[in-house]
């Protein structure tokens, strides 16, 4: 059937089940915005800055496992998306990013609002397209969704010139999408699964580090079976949180730079480390050469280029976890590790994560209250920094798809729009955004969008008047010389009033639980400003570049500890 390029785009979105998209109009995308009015099944959310359209699409994807879609016009609209695209790329989040481009005949002439967004985004997309012929558009749109959501997921950008939106085509969508140069791994090799199982069967001090791959492949049940059958502790990478129930006695929480001490120490003492759907990120491993020195490593991943990139793996299991993990669980023999667990219990008891009860009001209390009142069942998003680490430490996730955090890129300003994207995707879910006063000020203009849509997203704003992690590093590594770590804040009550969102200010620990309940009771967005103690450090800590043996413990728990592996 003959239809315009704009119709092809909307048809593609509808075919792929996109119920919400996030965008901002501009000159060259007007044909698409006009067409949009004919497609009520695809809701468009008008953001106030394109960066937030990308973060909302990212939050939508992380909260559902579906492809998130965002849209910007050419030039500044496209470049504003860049931070959000890079965020999604680093964390392998499936997104289709649509950008408008100047007319094909004007490309390369420095036309008004022209930018080479394809060139700009080569390193930060899984793949990208500039469509110069409307007949290519059905195939490209189908490919974009296919690529974004298969294999190692990621953002795919489609740049569409104005005259391609307006051009007409009768080319159909392809039946199947296939590119000769796109290789998806087949089923994992049985000999690798057997070898991995044999290594686990003979290990005495095994640990599993489960990452976001478990979340995306929805293999959390297989992971839980593995934990029980092999009696193995499950540690999470930052982005793997939620892939294993934090209340399970075999959960050791997150490890790494600010991970729980027991998991980090256990890994240093382990004789076998099994990385599942994770990439041995430097914030997790500490100094690579000092990571788990006595352990053989098994690495399960869907992306062969991750093998050996950071850590040389003894056994590599290439494939989709949906295939390989259940087969691995089946191949593993039931085991018990009472001595290993006795050691781990000792570390847990010696170096617990603590929530002080001494009259101070700390960021830890905010997350602890949230966890208690919501029973660990809310969707939680964060920016990057101290509050992110406390959220990761103290919020006890039970399910996957509830944790939205910029891990790889570490994007300030991510948390609030990501929470909104999640709330648009899951209107009935309780969604909390935990943000610092620094990051919130980067994207808070989206408050008006939350108010406009009566989005029941709740914001726990940790106001300590500092860029907390910057201040902590300046205290610890720059001799207390605070350089531009302190920042002024607006009057948040007036801000909330101006934007028409609910507001609660909390200044005492004992009021925090009640504030969470009050916010829950309000049908709409609520800004909960938590005015906490200005200076507080995240512990434990492994300094950047140090080995995981060198843990700086909370002074309230223990002196600096050298872990003897």
């Amino acid at each position: 059937m003959t239809r315009t390029g704009a119709t092809v785009v909307m048809e593609a979105l509808a075919r792929h089940g996109v119920d919400v998209m996030f965008g901002y109009p501009g000159g060259v995308v007007l044909p698409l915005y006009d067409e949009m009015l004919n497609w009520p099944q695809v809701k468009h959310v008008l953001v106030r800055h394109e960066q937030c359209a990308a973060h909302m699409a990212d939050g939508y994807a992380r909260a559902t496992g579906k492809v998130g879609v965002c849209l910007g016009t050419s030039g500044p609209g496209a470049t504003n998306l860049v931070t959000g695209i890079a965020t999604a790329m680093m964390d392998s989040v499936p997104m289709v990013v649509l950008t408008g481009q100047v007319n094909t005949w004007a490309i390369g002439t420095d036309a008004f609002q022209e930018t080479d967004i394809q060139g700009i985004t080569i390193p930060i997309t899984k793949h990208n397209y500039l469509v110069t012929d409307v007949d290519d558009l059905p195939r490209v749109m189908a490919e974009a969704f296919y690529l974004a959501n298969t294999g190692r997921k990621g953002p795919v950008l489609v740049d569409i010139p104005k005259d391609v939106f307006q051009g007409k085509t009768d080319v159909d969508f392809p039946e199947a999408t296939q590119r000769r140069g796109y290789l998806l791994p087949g089923p994992a090799l049985q000999e690798m699964i057997d070898e991995a199982a044999e290594l686990l069967n003979s290990a005495e001090r095994p640990v599993v580090i489960a990452g976001a791959g478990v979340v995306w492949s929805e293999t959390h049940k297989a992971l839980a079976e593995l934990a029980e059958k092999a009696d193995v502790p499950i540690i999470n990478s930052l982005l793997g949180l939620g892939s294993f129930d934090r209340d399970d006695p075999r959960s050791l929480g997150m490890m790494g730079m600010h991970g729980e001490a027991a998991g980090t120490i256990a890994t240093q003492h382990a004789d076998l480390v099994i990385g599942i759907g994770m990439r041995f990120d430097d914030r997790l491993t500490g100094k690579m050469s000092g990571f788990a020195p006595n352990a053989r490593k098994i690495h399960f991943d869907i992306d062969p280029t991750e093998f050996g990139k950071a850590i040389p793996a003894y056994c590599r299991v290439l494939g989709d976890l949906a295939d390989s993990l259940p087969r691995f669980v089946q191949a593993v023999k039931p085991a018990k590790h009472p001595e290993w667990w006795a050691e781990i219990r000792r570390w847990r008891e010696s170096y617990p994560l603590i929530v002080p009860d001494d009259g101070r009001f700390l960021a830890r209390h905010v997350v602890d209250s949230l966890n208690r009142v919501t029973k660990g069942n809310a969707v939680v998003s964060t920016d990057v920094g101290q509050h992110q680490m406390w959220a990761a430490q103290f919020y006890k996730f039970h399910q996957p798809f509830n944790w939205l955090s910029s891990g790889g890129l570490g994007t300030m300003g991510y948390g609030f729009p990501a929470a909104m994207g999640a709330q648009f995707a899951r209107p009935d879910a309780e969604v909390w955004c935990v943000v610092g006063d620094g990051g919130f000020q980067m994207t808070l203009q989206e408050l008006i969008v939350a108010a406009e849509h009566k989005l029941p997203v709740k914001i726990a704003l940790i106001n300590n008047g500092f860029l907390g992690m910057i201040r902590q590093w300046q205290e610890m590594f720059y001799d207390n010389r605070y350089s531009h770590a302190h920042m002024a804040n607006p009057d948040y009550s007036k801000l909330a009033e101006a934007y028409g969102v609910g507001f609660i200010r909390v200044t005492k620990q004992e009021d925090m639980d009640e504030a969470v309940r009050q916010a829950e009771a309000i049908d709409g967005p609520v800004l909960v400003e938590c005015v906490v103690q200005m200076e507080e450090n995240v512990y434990p800590m492994v300094a950047a570049g140090a080995a995981n043996d060198d843990l700086i413990m909370d002074p309230a728990v223990a002196p600096r500890e050298k872990v003897k592996a």
């Binding site: 060139g119 280029t305 050996g308």
Partner: protein, 159 residues
């Protein structure tokens, strides 16, 4: 181990493929010594030969990243003893009428060809293995190398 690698890649012909490919090298901090590309036996595809020096493990990472590119269908790190490598060099050498005969003799002995003759110089085309080209250039050097243009290595696996 740091050594020279000769890599061939089969590419789908798309706008910007070269850009994506070289972007991987730039991001990984590996520099290209030469690159040659042209049509191949499959329509819609090209074959490219890349010469890079680097650590084996770095190169493995780069090759993995290259293979992840949609436009890259296949990639191979060729072994010296099971590949044919050739490069074309165009060499303009200063040549007075007195020297001409002597230079042409050397060119013929080495298997080169005179492509152009001018009043006081001559242009030689010379095709061989890269190291033979180095040798040929050293023979021409005393006459004065006015300009040297090399195509970069083209290589093919042979069994």
């Amino acid at each position: 181990m740091r050594r020279q690698h000769v890599v061939t890649a089969l590419l789908e012909n798309q706008v910007g493929t070269l850009n994506r490919l070289t972007s991987v090298f730039r991001r990984k901090g590996v520099s290209l010594e030469s690159l040659s590309v042209g049509d191949c036996e499959q329509s819609g595809y090209s074959r490219m030969t890349l010469v890079v020096s680097g650590d084996d493990s770095d190169l493995n990472v780069v090759m993995g990243q290259l293979l992840k590119l949609l436009d890259v269908v296949d990639i191979q790190d060729l072994k010296v003893d099971s590949s044919v490598r050739r490069e074309l060099a165009l060499v303009r050498v200063g040549a007075s009428p007195q020297q001409r005969g002597e230079i042409i003799e050397v060119v013929h002995v080495m298997g080169g060809r005179v492509a152009h003759l001018a009043k006081d110089d001559l242009t030689v085309e010379f095709t061989d293995e890269p190291r033979k080209i180095e040798h040929f250039l050293s023979l021409m050097e005393p006459y004065g190398l006015r300009e040297v243009v090399r195509t970069g290595t083209a290589a093919m696996r042979v069994d």
